[in-house]
Amino acid sequence: MIHFAARRGVRALGVLLLVAVLAMSTPMMLPGSPALAALGLEATDEEIAAFNDKYNLGADPFTRLWNWLDGLVHGDLGTSIITDAAVTGQLAERLPVTLELVLVSLAVALVIALPVALRAAWRPGSVLDRVSQVLAFVLLSMPGFVLGMLLIYLFAVVLRVLPATGWVPFSEDPLGHLTHLILPVTTMALAEAAVYLRALRADADEVLDSTYIHAAQARGMKPARLLLARALRPASLPLVTLVGLNLGMALGGTLVVETMYAIPGMGRYVSTAIGQRDYPVIESTTIILAAAMVTATLLVDLSYRLIDPRIAHVARS
């Protein structure tokens, strides 16, 4: 296990390194020189050199990555070209917002999907089963921006019970914070819940059909206990994969929701930076989001073995 973890860890680091070098190459790939854009065409060579030096631009990707890593060690991720603010400080404001959004959505999605899926699998063909399957299907077919638009229209414009958009920090107004959280979280959670529901339902079906469940049932095990103790564990394997991948991706994938609901999170931060060619911001956030993804994948891999040790044997043989 330790050997396996170490091997995967090294590989993850390698992947991250490759992505980091790619991220540091973006100024060379996008048209337009940031120094010229900022200083104007009549800028002198000295001005351009000073500018490139200040924002860690100009050098080759490897040197730039080295500078970036050096800054990282000192808690300094560079300076935004546009706002001249420290990227570290801006990330400290943005990252928690997106993290909260993603984690709360995940929790809500699981709270919806788990009981419904298990209950539905327990009584296949029941009303709950059929309704949940159809709903999941419809939700899966509806892109986030369509679902979000419908939710805003319904709850903010027609019913006027929730704010359409905006973000209130928790420290400022806890209640306002929660009301502003409801619609974006719902938009994300419903789609995720549909994915989990279908995955769980399909697997639970298979597991519940297996002989050891039938045996346990024949021994008089209570349904609830049976579901949780025997069925959930094996069925949770694909769920862990999905949740892990989703978490990794969600950090960079909240852009649509953040745009619709005016949430000052990572997605809007990076997309604005891309629009403004704010390379220090693009690079730092890309690497951080990639790190999140790589870590999530690594944790999924490791947790597989913890949940179901048989996988280690299968993988080895």
Binding site: R11, A12, G14, V15, L16, L18, V19, L22, T26, M29, L30, P31, P124, G125, F137, V138, L140, S141, M142, P143, G144, F145, V146, M149, L150, Y153, V157, A218, M249, L251, G252, G253, L255, V256, T259, G267, V270, S271, I274, G275, I282, T286, L289, A290, M293, V294, T297
Partner: protein, 286 residues
């Protein structure tokens, strides 16, 4: 009540449930296929005849309510929303097909190569796939689109490139098992040329999984293209795409909801239809 009797009742219930599900499945598949055929016919009409012109603007009739002349009303530029929705289908589907071709061909080549040859090649490919998966997808697309400019091909190939890892993973696992089959081992032993083995033995084994995954990939591509257009990184105006039309009409949601609702429903219905048919395909092949 004896165990046997209970089991018997369960069996009956299961059989009934299965039959009912089959009937529902058939009905759903028919509806789904019907929708896609209607869409295809309308698209042909839009391409072949001047009846459905998504570009013609009547500056004096902007934001008209749905009527006989304009079944889905008109947009802010006085264009027919029905014609634009149909043309949007065409663009969305073309993007989806390009995505599919790039993703499936690239993914299969890479996946089969990794699975069949294994060893160092497999490791390198696995590593690269991990790297692609680690980059935030939407941000990568936005970067590439702002670099290359928004066009059907640039958007389609970019989404397609991002789908290569998924296709590669699906095909690799199958290629791995095929490699171990006796007839493949035998073919290797008698020095059958590798390309021949790949074409005759590996590809047919990979095909069913490819086909079922293709449907999922297609819906993902349609949604991705829609999201991009919605965020303003999609096809350049005035080219109609579902996400773009929805974004254009969003400001008028309260006063002229038809501009947004028609393409939104069409998008959702198409994704549902493709998913439904994809699930049937999956059942059939597995």
């Amino acid at each position: 009540m004896s165990l046997a009797a209970e089991a018997g009742r369960d069996v009956h219930a299961a059989v009934r449930a299965t039959r009912r599900r089959r009937r529902l499945d058939t009905a759903a598949t028919t509806v789904a296929a019907g929708w896609l055929i209607v869409l295809a016919v309308l698209t042909l009409v839009s391409i072949a005849t001047p009846l459905l012109d998504p570009y013609f603007q009547d500056f004096t009739s902007a934001k008209l309510e749905p009527s006989l002349a304009h079944p889905f009303g008109t947009d802010g530029n006085g264009r027919d929303v029905f014609a634009r929705t149909v043309a949007g289908a065409q663009n969305s589907l073309v993007v989806a097909v390009i995505t599919l071709v790039v993703g499936a061909v690239g993914g299969t080549l890479i996946g089969v190569a990794a699975g069949y040859f294994r060893g160092a090649l497999d490791n390198v490919i696995g590593f690269l796939i991990d790297a692609v998966l680690a980059i935030p997808a939407l941000l990568l697309i936005i970067t590439i689109v702002s670099f290359r400019g928004p066009s059907i091909t640039s958007i389609g190939t970019t989404i397609g490139l991002l789908m290569i890892p998924a296709f590669a993973r699906v095909t690799r696992s199958i290629a791995l098992t095929v490699r171990e089959r006796d007839y493949v081992k035998a073919a290797v032993l008698i020095d059958t040329p590798t390309p021949r083995i790949l074409v005759k033995a590996v590809l047919p084994a990979v095909a069913p999984a490819l086909v079922s995954y293709a449907f999922t990939a297609m819906t993902a591509a349609i949604v991705a293209e829609g999201s991009l257009s919605f965020l303003g990184y999609g096809l350049a105006a005035p080219a109609p795409s579902w996400g773009g039309i929805i974004a254009e009409g969003r400001a008028d949601l309260a006063t002229a909801p038809w501009i947004t609702l028609a393409p939104a429903l069409a998008l959702a219905a198409t994704v549902m239809a493709i998913t439904t048919i994809g699930e049937r395909a999956k059942e059939r092949y597995s």
